[in-house]
Subunit: 183 residues, 4 copies
């Protein structure tokens, strides 16, 4: 007999960012530890992002104290790079759409790969995508396309009420809340 | 020194119902114990109810398993009684709007009071109103007017993750989770 | 060889009304001669009417001078008569939805026919329906279901620019703009 | 005594275009003579254009035969030139938003003026702007901001029913339908 393991919630891979906007200092998952994080991956020329994803990100940003829930935009350009891929293009978009939450320009890949680095690491299927991290920095939602406010709200309500992490102490034996990796 | 008490969440007063629709048997708070309950109080001739409250109730009903979240409609008629106050009127409305969750016709008051009984007991300010009960049958939201899906979702997410009640056993000393009443 | 006739635009059959609301005196097609008329047939318990038809009627009413375009509501109850068929029910609906244009309660049929009289005479397929009359009182649109504002606007623009009727003088030979009736 | 003049409807100034999209040959007002023309001036980073103006232009394009009503987009970039002012940027936008009507990139001004040439000539106040020309190529609407579909439809209905121009013959004395210019 054994006790069944909890669902596996992997930690989010590190953000790889060409440039940050709307934040005095670069953000890392580590610096956001203790908060629920809503990451909206978008492209400025993606109609579904402009119609649905960006307004939803704005509503979440306005509904919560940033000490509890932090919205982060991720501009993951995988097409029309020349047009929408520059920091200047993103800056103009942020200005015109009056966005006030932190936004990262996903780091372009080296070589011929059109998919930027964080988008690759997160295995995003496209834009808009929604990644939600719990207070421990673990991926709890990985969603491509539209998600309605009710379902997003339910998840946020659940994650807000989960315990914040205890003061960090390195696991003695390589195990953490997700289990113990094989050597 | 003392430990601060938790927020006081009173139990919901009993439903007083003239007639039930869409349910094989009358519902009581006791029969719903263990579920999160979303009670939508409305009037069929109230524009804000028809535009916002009823569609939201339908979305919640469709989003959740009824073992977890139970939507209940409450037709609390406090004006135009002759027109919208009868069971026949409510039945026609339910039919035309294709509503499938349980709906109660709030019991009319005796005498000259136009406010029906459950609306009085819940101290509703008008329609639409939204009352949310936790798994222990306690009132956790009491809202008059429109509430957006994101905020409603957050509350539902929090309440869904709260523990269901333990098997009932009468408190030995008159105390319950809300505290101890003075004798 | 011959010259093709113009499209046949029949005059609207007379309104048959149980009771008028929002008008000091009953309206007739004759009294509206010279104006473009937009007749919205609806039922207060018809979701498509409440969501689309009534708001559109309100927009048309607000967009035009009533000397040019007159909106008229027609409450054509063909189901749930006991609930929505009375003058009191219609009065309550008009009050709650704050409607300010003239509205007629379609005269109920004698006998067992559930379809009211004007609805029969106009051969309406259901609600919502939109009937548009030109300045000569002729039916120029007969539409069941939703019609978008752009297409409705185009028709109104065309009809507004058509000539108003000349001072009435009975045709010498029984002919009018629509042709000559057989004796 | 004299006959009062009709309203003055000036002919539209010539289009000045850096590049055309979605048309096999450049358009001119002359080539569109005989049609009603709806010119939507926009910028791809203007939220009101993306939310309202572009969807409206698409609806008009879909509602009419292009022999009667021709929609033309005009990308009049007066800010963020580096980002949205290039033909490549406009091409990407047209592709992502699946626009199928002819679109012109307004010719940039020489020198320091950020306002492009057609925007200057039409004295547009900003984006979105709506210019409607009658079948004679005269400006009949000059609107900055949002215009609802009902009002736009009314104007189009009126202009559609106006007579198309007679075969061109140069006025003998310099006069045209708008009057006679002083020598």
């Amino acid at each position: 007999m054994h006790t069944c393991a909890h669902a596996y919630h992997p930690p989010a891979p590190p953000l790889q960012v060409a440039q940050w906007f709307n934040t005095p200092a670069p953000l890392t998952w580590q610096s956001l530890r203790g908060k629920v994080v809503v990451l909206h991956a978008f492209q400025m020329l993606c109609p579904g992002c402009v119609e649905h994803g960006i307004p939803q990100a704005r509503r979440v940003h306005e509904a919560f104290d940033t000490g509890q829930v932090q919205v982060v935009g991720l501009h993951s350009v995988f097409e029309h790079h020349a047009v929408q891929g520059t920091p200047e293009a993103l800056q103009a978009f942020i200005h015109e759409y009056r966005l006030h939450f932190p936004i990262a320009l996903d780091a372009p890949s080296d070589g011929a790969n059109p998919i930027p680095c964080t988008m690759q690491a997160l295995a995003l299927q496209g834009t808009p995508s929604l990644i939600v991290l719990d207070r421990l920095g673990r991926v709890r939602l990985h969603h491509f396309g539209r998600l309605d406010d009710l379902r997003l709200g339910v998840l946020l309500g659940q994650l807000i009420d989960e315990a914040a992490p205890a003061p960090a102490s390195p696991p003695a034996d390589g195990c953490d809340a997700n289990g113990c990796p094989a050597p």
